[in-house]
């Protein structure tokens, strides 16, 4: 299945902005972030097709996953 991964803010550093990946059925968000060297604790916002998801959410063909790090400064 094909899934579009979008990274935001500092997650783009040394990685990519957007990438389409070929993934096997049953892949969850955690399986996507591990090879990217992103820990689940570093995920502040995780959107699957624009809706709230988390590291355990299972992906489907055609999905778009958007991942954001915590931004807390003032």
């Amino acid at each position: 299945m094909r899934v579009t991964i979008k990274l935001f803010a500092t997650f783009r550093d040394g990685r990519f902005k957007v990438e389409e990946q070929d993934l096997s059925e049953g892949t969850c968000v955690l399986d996507v972030i591990q090879p990217l060297n992103i820990q689940a604790e570093e995920l502040a916002i995780c959107l699957l097709n624009g809706k709230d998801a988390n590291e355990h959410t299972v992906l489907n063909d055609g999905d778009t996953l958007a991942l954001f790090p915590p931004v807390g400064g003032g």
């Binding site: 500092t10 570093e42 931004v71 400064g73 003032g74």
Partner: protein, 228 residues
């Protein structure tokens, strides 16, 4: 001294009626650092009648890179007191209340008495969630913003929305601990916050309710996400 024509250049962005609404409004700015300093400066210039500033810190040398109120001459002074002095010299028609200390949830009804809107200019995720909870309890609109490096986020949370807890309730310490905050990011995010604040105060519909703006000054991208 009278400064007739002070708001001449606000027209026709802001009508006389809008200007009057601003003059009769009170905004609390929680945090008077990178974001809060610029927010206070702009709200005073645009003509908001009363500002309540909260911050429990004094200026340090490391604030000089980005905090508009910080100068080489006021290192060591309380941020809210410096801001008070500066704002008086910018617009003496604005009443400023400077509260030297951190915002205490238990004292919220007293601290936010007569306030019409709250601007979040805090620097931690937990305190933002707390501030939203307080605002909702007191039926106050909240304009929130946060920054880290080249990046920022902002939006509007009206009572019952819980946008801040959705965005800031997960994840560890913000990436600003590694990326810091350069001069331009707080200035941009503060300006965006003030634009939303002014809209709410004059009775226009804010653009970022049930949504947030993801700001990337490295890629120069401003992307809006719905909070569903």
């Amino acid at each position: 001294m009278k400064f007739e024509g002070r708001y001449l250049r606000n027209k026709k962005t802001l009508s006389d009626e809008d200007q009057l609404k601003l003059a009769n409004s009170c905004v609390a700015i929680v945090g008077c650092g990178g974001l809060g300093g610029y927010i206070a400066e702009q709200l005073a210039r645009v003509g908001v009648g009363r500002l309540v500033l909260f911050d429990g810190d004094r200026f340090e040398v490391s604030n000089l890179n980005r905090q508009i109120m910080a100068t080489e001459l006021n290192i060591g002074q309380w941020k809210v007191e410096v801001a008070h002095q500066r704002l008086k010299s910018v617009n003496s028609e604005v009443q400023v209340e400077a509260i030297r200390g951190w915002f205490e949830e238990d004292r919220a009804p007293e601290l936010l008495k007569n306030v019409d809107l709250v601007c979040d200019a805090l620097d931690s995720r937990d305190s933002r969630v707390m501030l939203e909870r307080v605002c909702h309890q007191m039926n106050l609109p909240l304009v929130y913003a946060s920054i880290a490096g080249w990046f920022g986020q902002l939006g509007v949370s009206l009572p019952g929305d819980f946008s801040v807890s959705r965005l800031y309730g997960h994840g560890e310490r913000g990436v600003e601990s590694m990326w810091g905050n350069p001069a331009f990011t707080p200035a941009v995010l503060a300006s965006l916050s003030v634009a939303e604040t002014v809209k709410l105060l004059v009775g226009r519909v804010p653009s970022l309710r049930h949504a947030w703006l993801q700001v990337d000054l490295l890629a120069m991208e401003f992307e809006r996400f719905e909070i569903q």
